[in-house]
């Protein structure tokens, strides 16, 4: 019964946390830009407004299904990573499963946006898939490294080991190279600057979202809020010792998010080829060296 409740409420909790983090990021950005900024609950208003709009566009059934695939894939990932109090599926699915499911949202987006026949969207998708190839390799290597270091492929066990051993066993201390590589890859994964090539408003008019309006865009916003929590939770579980209570968990999310925002504020946007080159020049060798250090 408990599990059923968690299954129902976990996406909602993740959505609320993710939305507040997005609102915080808008406030943070505004303050750096010397503005006052919107209220912190602004993203709720945006999503409500979008869901309340009368939508009269459709580009075929694939377009409709893809948006749900996007959201479904993200929520599915959410179930497989351990969060405080809920690790039912995490005991069954290990990191390899997570690596696979993480690809579903990208593919869903590619299928749906491909239907809209807008060249900006197609370029955006091409960029998203290129970036996938760029950040996935270092990220998977960090997965492997951490698994070898702790002799387990289960994220739950990893978290338990780090929680039991204290700060000295956190991934960021035991293997800082992998932690840095994964942090850079995480920027690419979340599409944060300087790896904002997928949306890039000045170049391709928000890329994949260009033909999305009303409810479609609303679902994409919800997915974005949840995906943020999912991907940062993975990082926290791997390198920041996970969390056993919600206070610690949210605090860690907040700190990680602030670091990422700070990096994003002072950098512009890489070009796609530069982004790929950078990913393969810096995080990838770092991750390889990190893994080699673990092996030998």
């Amino acid at each position: 019964m408990n599990v059923v409740l968690w299954i129902i409420f976990l996406p909602i909790i993740a959505f609320v946390i993710g939305t507040f983090l997005l609102g915080y990021s808008r406030k943070f950005t505004a303050r750096v830009e010397r503005r006052y900024g919107p209220p912190i609950q602004q993203v709720f208003y945006d999503i409500f407004k979008l869901m309340n709009k009368k939508t009269n566009i459709s580009h075929g059934w694939m377009h409709d299904v893809a948006v749900l695939m996007l959201l479904g894939g993200t929520v599915l990932t959410l179930y497989f990573i351990p969060v405080p109090g809920f690790s039912y599926f995490a005991q069954y699915g290990d990191m390899l499963v997570i690596m696979y499911i993480l690809l579903i949202p990208s593919l869903g987006m590619a299928l749906g946006v491909g239907e809209t026949a807008n060249p900006n969207g197609s370029i955006g998708i091409a960029r998203a898939l290129t970036m996938l190839a760029a950040y996935d390799v270092p990220f998977v290597l960090t997965f492997i490294g951490m698994a070898m270091l702790n002799n387990t492929t289960s994220m739950y066990d990893l978290m338990v080991i780090q929680q039991a051993g204290g700060v000295a066993t956190w991934g960021i201390v035991t293997n800082p190279l992998l932690a840095v590589a994964a942090l850079i890859a995480l920027h690419g994964m979340l599409g944060k600057k300087p790896f904002e090539v997928v949306v890039a408003p000045h170049e391709i008019a928000t890329g994949p979202m260009v033909e999305m309006g009303g409810k479609y865009l609303g679902i994409m916003f919800i997915q974005h809020a949840i995906a943020e929590v999912v991907e940062m939770t993975i990082y926290i579980n791997l390198f920041l010792g996970g969390a056993l209570n919600w206070f610690e968990y949210i605090l860690k999310l907040f700190v990680l998010w602030t670091v990422m925002l700070g990096v994003g504020m002072v950098f512009g946007r890489f070009r796609t080829d530069d982004a790929v080159r950078f990913m393969w020049k810096i995080p990838l060798p770092l991750a390889i060296i990190g893994v080699l250090l673990i092996i030998f």
Partner: protein
């Protein structure tokens, strides 16, 4: 794809509704992958028929509409228009009015450059810089408001002088604003101009060689970024520029980054010019009265006047047939070269990521093209 068609190139429109476009303008690009293989500009969205409207209005009425031709940098228009009438009608301008006009022109240049460097940084994803520069530009607009009553359009320079003298203590406030903007320049450097990622994005983009620039008719900061020290303020001095001490900054690379640097260094020069003007401005009347403007007939004749606007050479060719209305006014917008053929040529071979950066770095201003 059911038919075995091979899609090699495709077309994409940037604009008129797109954040990567300065104003209401459109680019029709043909792409092969990410690379632009042909580019066409499409203007005319802002066409109001200024030249025709001016022919149907009195000389004095036109002062209100000429400033609308270039929106970010309106004062060169007023200056050109006033000087063209003065040249045809042989009106003398009081010395103090000339100094005030120069001050207004330089403040306008500064405001326009602040706008442009912010916009240029935004095309590479640095959204903090436009927020800072546009807010700092507002201080200059407040000065304008105090002096002329208008924030954006000033309608200030009349034939025969300027509309009103400085308010009390205006010089002091101008110097305060100059000090403030000078103190902010360092922040812009830290955030954008010396930012490693911005340098990486902007170097080697939209490269113009010296020969190309001259043969394509490039003017203004874009030409100076190619190493040609040509500036209407020095070469063809108007108002009091021959009495002021300033340099013409040049770079030799001719790429987007060099254009950014030139604008950045021109802002320093403008600040120094404004300080010199406040320091040296003579006292006296600001307007030589012209005849009753509703019945005023300007003698027959023609004049070609040029101004260095923030975007390049801005010129008016005015013909009067001795009537109450101008017979013909031809506006040579500064962006008619940079914004059309130069842009088309530079876009070919560059990539879709850089299209809007090329446009912003050339500082093409569509209303000047459309008129």
């Amino acid at each position: 794809m059911s038919k075995k068609e091979e899609v090699r190139d495709y077309e994409i429109f940037i604009g008129p509704n797109h954040p990567g476009i300065e104003g209401n303008f459109s680019l029709k690009l043909k792409l092969l992958g990410d690379k632009i293989i042909s580019a066409k500009t499409d203007a005319g969205y802002l066409h109001r028929g200024f030249e025709k409207l001016m022919e149907e209005r009195l000389f004095i009425q036109n002062i209100a509409i000429v400033c609308r031709i270039c929106v970010p940098d309106p004062d060169p228009n007023e200056n050109n228009y006033a000087r063209a009438i003065e040249e045809i009608a042989g009106i003398e301008v009081p010395e103090r009015a000339k100094w005030i006009r120069t001050l207004v022109l330089e403040l306008s240049r500064l405001a326009s450059h602040l706008f442009t460097i912010g916009g240029h940084a935004a095309t590479t994803g640095l959204y903090a810089l436009p927020n800072w520069t546009v807010a700092d530009r507002d201080r200059i607009l407040e000065l304008f408001e105090e002096l002329t009553g208008g924030r954006v359009y000033h309608i200030y320079q009349l034939p025969g002088g300027v509309r009103r003298d400085f308010p009390d203590g205006f010089g002091k406030r101008v110097l305060e604003v100059m000090d403030y903007i000078e103190s902010r320049l360092g922040d812009y450097d830290d955030l954008a101009i010396n930012n490693a990622l911005f340098i990486k994005r902007a170097t080697g983009i939209g490269v113009l060689t010296k020969e190309q620039a001259i043969s394509w008719g490039v003017t203004g900061p874009d030409l100076r970024a190619c190493g040609v020290a040509s500036d209407v303020r020095k070469d063809d001095p108007y108002e009091v520029y021959d009495k002021l001490d300033f340099e013409i900054p040049t770079q030799t690379e001719g790429d987007a980054y060099a254009r950014m640097i030139v604008r950045r260094r021109e802002m320093e020069q403008s600040i120094s010019i404004v300080r010199q003007i406040i320091d040296k401005i003579p006292s006296g009347p600001v307007w030589n009265k012209i005849p009753n403007p509703l019945k005023w007939k300007v003698p027959a004749g023609d004049a070609y006047v040029r101004t260095e606007s923030s975007k390049g050479e801005f010129a008016y060719y005015m013909v009067s047939d001795g009537g109450r209305k101008p017979y013909r006014v031809h506006v040579r917008g500064a962006s008619t070269t940079q914004g059309v053929h130069v842009l088309e040529n530079l876009l070919v071979g560059s990539r879709i990521e850089d299209a809007s950066q090329v446009m912003f770095s050339l500082d093409a201003c569509p209303p000047e093209v459309d008129r």
